[in-house]
Amino acid sequence: MTALEKLNNTKQITMKNLELRLGKQAGDNKRHVLICEGTGCLSADAAKIEGIFADEVKKNNLADSVEIVRTGCFGYCQVGPIVIIYPEGSFYSRVKLEDIPKIVQEHLLGGAPVKDLLLPEAVNADGSITPFNDVPFYKIQKRVALRLCGLVNPENITEYIAFDGYQALNKVLGMKREDVIKEIKDSGLRGRGGGGFSTGMKWEFCFKTENAQKYVVCNADEGDPGAFMDRSILEGDPHSIIEAMAIAGYAIGANKGFVYVRAEYPIAVNRLQLAIDQAKDFGLLGEKIFDTDFAFDLEIRLGAGAFVCGEETALLNSIEGKRGMPNPRPPFPAVKGLWGKPTIINNVETFANIPQIILNGAAWLNAMGTEKSNGTKVFALGGKVENAGLIEVPMGTTIRDIVYEIGGGIPNGKEFKAVQIGGPSGGCLTKDQLDAPIDYDSLLELGAMMGSGGLVVMDEDNCMVDIARFFLEFTVDESCGKCPPCRVGTKRMLETLIRITEGKGEMEDLERLEVLANNIKASSLCGLGQTAPNPVLSTLRYFRDEYIAHVKDKKCPAGACTELLEFFIEDSCKGCTLCKKACPVDAIIGERKELHVIDQEKCVKCGACIPKCPFKSIVKK
């Protein structure tokens, strides 16, 4: 049997079993119980849920008809832990351990989904059930990179194979290397890690550099706060990355690959290692892949908590065992990379697109998205939205659609204020830009950037000066210290911002910030420094009033900057003296059963009194 026959055999056999997850009734009363075991749901007891389901299934002698499947992230993290039961596609949300016996009795034994445990949006007025991918959260989404996340068991290679897994690798091995690169180039795929450089061009540079030893590196050092798409792909569909890296290896002529993952992602690391081992056992990694002369091997290398290692040259230094500091470019890694050899570095999400481009053709990706930004983009939607989670939409989708259609708007009746895109390299956009399409170029024009795709929504209670300070604190801490503009410049900017949030700012500070920011952008060595001022510049551009309020009126309009607030005790005080006891500086005056007062001279605004008050009488103004 040839390797391809073996693959196709496995595909056929496995697909028969998986068809019911595609909405095809399999008959025989067979059911699949899919349990989300991404980091989010695992943090909310998903592993225990799996255990109880397994026990119940055994107890009720259902082992022959029910399969329990551990999957990656479904994306709708807000309503986790999530369990989906096929063939109905019943969407059980916020599953509690004590609900499981009922689900097993009524749904798995009785055949009727337990409607009051389903996601409320999934139950229609007439009592019918909306399958999970048709609920509003998923309606305008288009899943390409997340295609199999939440559909297959990432710990079982045969399920990936059933959904065309490793077919693309087989296909490219019959193509000329130049044609593989041309296909990727024609698809217009741009780096999903932030920069947006053409993936095909990167491959071409490396292909054209002659060297007997080349490397493929996958950048999974996802450091942007509020972004977790790379982790979710590794957790939910690790084989797509392995296949894509092998394809890249063939295209540029490399036989060795490294995946550089954050050590903070233990589940992703374990699943990826398991996937690599399974691929080796199946003959899809190693020597003579698909009976050709192509050999490819893959190794995981762990980071150790340094944001700058997401920068490609810093990442390579880290793999080599050095301090993760960037090098000046050129030479680009495609020419001189890991251990001096030509190397391509692509982000996880970028790789996740590759097998499907090969199978469906360049034109398929071209048809999605906008003219210059093709395909889809995964965003980690979080902060002050009803539905936080991981989403994937065609490029060009508006911020409004994401925040309101998918995100469900702002909770607690609060007002939308801003959305922060792209983490510490990105910027804040306001409600005036809600209708702006999200693609690489329009975001840059607006002063933000795609970054890795963190999308954090803020409401009226968030102070934009404070947010700028928050990001600067992050970059100051993460600056590697190699080049002075970043090392010294960001520190000076942070000091200025702290002064402003403490009410000690001057109007000249705003101009100083802008001048300094532009100098840092122009003269820093790597992407970290070049983009670090963006959060400050974008908030200065769109929320200048708020800066002025801090400087001139010494007020924080959002009520977030503690130094600019004063604490007061309202008339509802019953004089219980609890706050008085909690105050570390004896600033609270008042006898038992009498209204207490805070001495503003003494008060250090530590806030220790607020949680102590049983009557919620202490307010900040």
Binding site: G40, L302, A306, I319, R323, G324, G383, F471
Partner: protein, 165 residues
């Protein structure tokens, strides 16, 4: 302050095995340091000396690498590491108040350890569970992680969490 026992014969054995596996590996220092941090809970100078000798890398370089990465530490940490996620999604949902509450409760600031080595407080980087924001993780090397998500930040929550340990 009582000194915490870090280097034990049993742990040294694990280090030896790790060094043997990585000795001839290209770029072996990072895997060795990652493993050492796991084995000892920190990378004390005497362990650095052994690594230096076995991998033939100068002490100065090893010290440089250890101090560069956040995950490596030279001093031992507490038995329970309280990590308050300070990713953007948690920060906009008032995670700073959770840090302050821990400080008020057990008297240590971020990156500090209580004198009895019971707790270390970390204001940590995004843990990527943004759907559960704000998130606090309490980690013990033997017992693993306890994750507390969707905290309300109304006060008193951290006290309840700390009292469990």
């Amino acid at each position: 302050m009582a000194k915490k026992e870090v280097v034990t014969p049993e742990r040294m054995k694990k280090l030896d095995a790790c060094l043997a596996a990585n000795k001839n590996r290209q770029g072996g220092l990072m895997p060795v340091l990652n493993e050492s941090q796991k084995i000892f809970g920190c990378i004390p100078v005497e362990v650095q000396k052994i690594i230096s000798k076995e991998l033939n890398i100068p002490m100065a370089e090893i010290y440089g690498v250890i101090t560069f990465y956040h995950q490596f530490s030279i001093e031992p940490k507490g038995d329970y590491i309280i990590s308050v996620c300070m990713g953007t999604a948690c920060y906009v949902k008032d995670a700073q108040k959770l840090v302050d509450e821990v400080t008020a409760e057990i008297g240590i600031g971020p990156s500090e350890t209580t004198p009895d080595y019971k707790f270390t407080l970390m204001a940590t980087r995004c843990v990527g569970a943004c759907g559960l924001a704000p998130v606090v993780i309490v980690n013990n090397r033997e017992k693993g992680d306890d994750v507390y998500g969707r905290l309300t930040v109304k006060g008193g929550e951290m006290k309840d969490i700390i009292s469990k340990y």
